[in-house]
Symmetry: C2
Subunit: 227 residues, 2 copies
DNA sequence: ATAAAACCTTACATCAGGTGTAAGTTCAAA
DNA sequence: TTTGAACTTACACCTGATGTAAGGTTTTAT
């Protein structure tokens, strides 16, 4: 069994090391953040299975960090803060935090919540999030609006690359690599046809986004506001 | 927007009506349990989107109820109890409860947790739970051990009927109805072959259960202890 | 022990849906 | 208005799911 990795984000060194050793003693692999310049990317570098996050931090509040994390990944976030304020709790959960706990924490309760959240996320690591939908990377099952459909493999792969590069353009080459592998000759036409097919499927599903061509560069996912 | 249905299970009439009206005032449709003979099936009759459950109840403890509910359905359960005991909390979460809150409750916090749990379950209504795995009823995507596979439609349908009748035998007729529709002539052989196929796929996936024939009656899902 | 019924297995042909190919048309920038 | 990029459509092919067929194994009753 591989240890689950928890990333501890807490600016007070004493509390930080205490938390870290407590978690390590309970079977987790722990990484801590001690550089508070660009916390979200620091966190993601650790590739954690869960993030334990304080609210009061230098530079950037835990709320903002939480929002960014949830935007860029689907890592579960447990908020652990000394501010016992219902507003904070509401705020945190709105931003997608998975648990909200207040200090001082009961060790057993914290551990229990953590293992609970981890259990809840188990197996969901293959789901990538798009605007208003989820995509299973393994089966290309698409979850939208309380229903689900299976995308044809090629369409799924294209959507996957596009989602992994949210807000950026993806070159035809990159898409081709993903779909047929980097060794294959890139067949502009086959790619084109599959792109068209994906667009048609997405439109048929009333998805809140489309694939948009960026002339001379590639393609990207764009959200459509309506609905 | 259709109101979400919450089923309140609380033996103290005063608290019960208070909870019910509070929830109704906040946009939920509420059903209450006042017959405590066979609570789990009483609850399921309501087809709730969420169950709010007390621990101290006549006849059957909330823990047992929770276990049975989770066994027979995948309805989310929020435990609301006056016993503020870490053991209870551990116990409840082990049994699959989704939240554990203690009385006296802060109204806003309870509502927040409820809406949070409901959000978490959104769209998962098409997932049915088996021993150690999940099955998407629409696509027959099977989630097990952190990975996912798509079952062929027929195998998926068979597994679905079997899961919907956990612990009971399902007749060939019922299975056939599910797979080909009740109007079609039941082709014993085709059914047999598809059953064999399902068994093989399940074995190949190391699933912790098998399809077992009950001579002269039908088939049922049986858990296999190993692994 | 043996026969009959219930249940299971395997191989093969068929069919549907995903895919690449080909031959075009439309669009947008210079 | 010209040119290359982006798109569309139809069709043929191939893979994988399905039903069919023919036979094997297990269980139960006599």
């Amino acid at each position: 069994m591989i240890l689950k990795r928890i990333c501890v984000v807490e600016d007070e060194p004493l509390v930080r090391t205490e938390l870290a050793s407590m978690l390590e003693n309970n079977g987790y692999s722990v990484g801590v953040i001690d550089n508070f310049d660009d916390v979200p990317s620091e966190i993601l570098k650790h590739e954690p299975d869960l993030v334990l996050l304080d609210i009061n931090l230098p530079n950037m509040s835990g709320f903002q960090i939480c929002r960014e994390l949830k935007n860029k990944s689907s890592v579960p976030v447990v908020i652990l803060t000394s501010r016992d304020d219902l507003k904070d709790e509401l705020n945190a959960l709105e931003l997608g935090a998975d648990e909200f706990m207040t200090k001082p924490y009961r060790k057993e309760r914290l551990l229990l919540r953590i293992s609970n959240v981890l259990k809840r996320y188990e197996g969901r690591s293959n789901l990538i999030e798009g605007p208003g939908f989820l995509l299973d990377k393994l089966t290309y099952t698409l979850y939208i609006d309380g229903t689900s459909v299976i995308l044809p493999k090629n369409q799924g792969k294209i959507l996957e690359v596009l989602l992994q590069n949210r807000d950026e353009e993806v070159s035809r080459q990159e898409i081709s690599d993903k779909v047929w592998g980097t060794s294959e000759f890139i067949d502009e036409n086959a790619l084109q046809v599959n792109l068209t097919r994906l667009k048609k499927t997405m439109a048929g599903l009333n998805m809140p986004c489309t694939v948009q061509a960026v002339r001379g560069v590639g393609y990207k996912i764009v959200e459509t506001e309506e609905r």
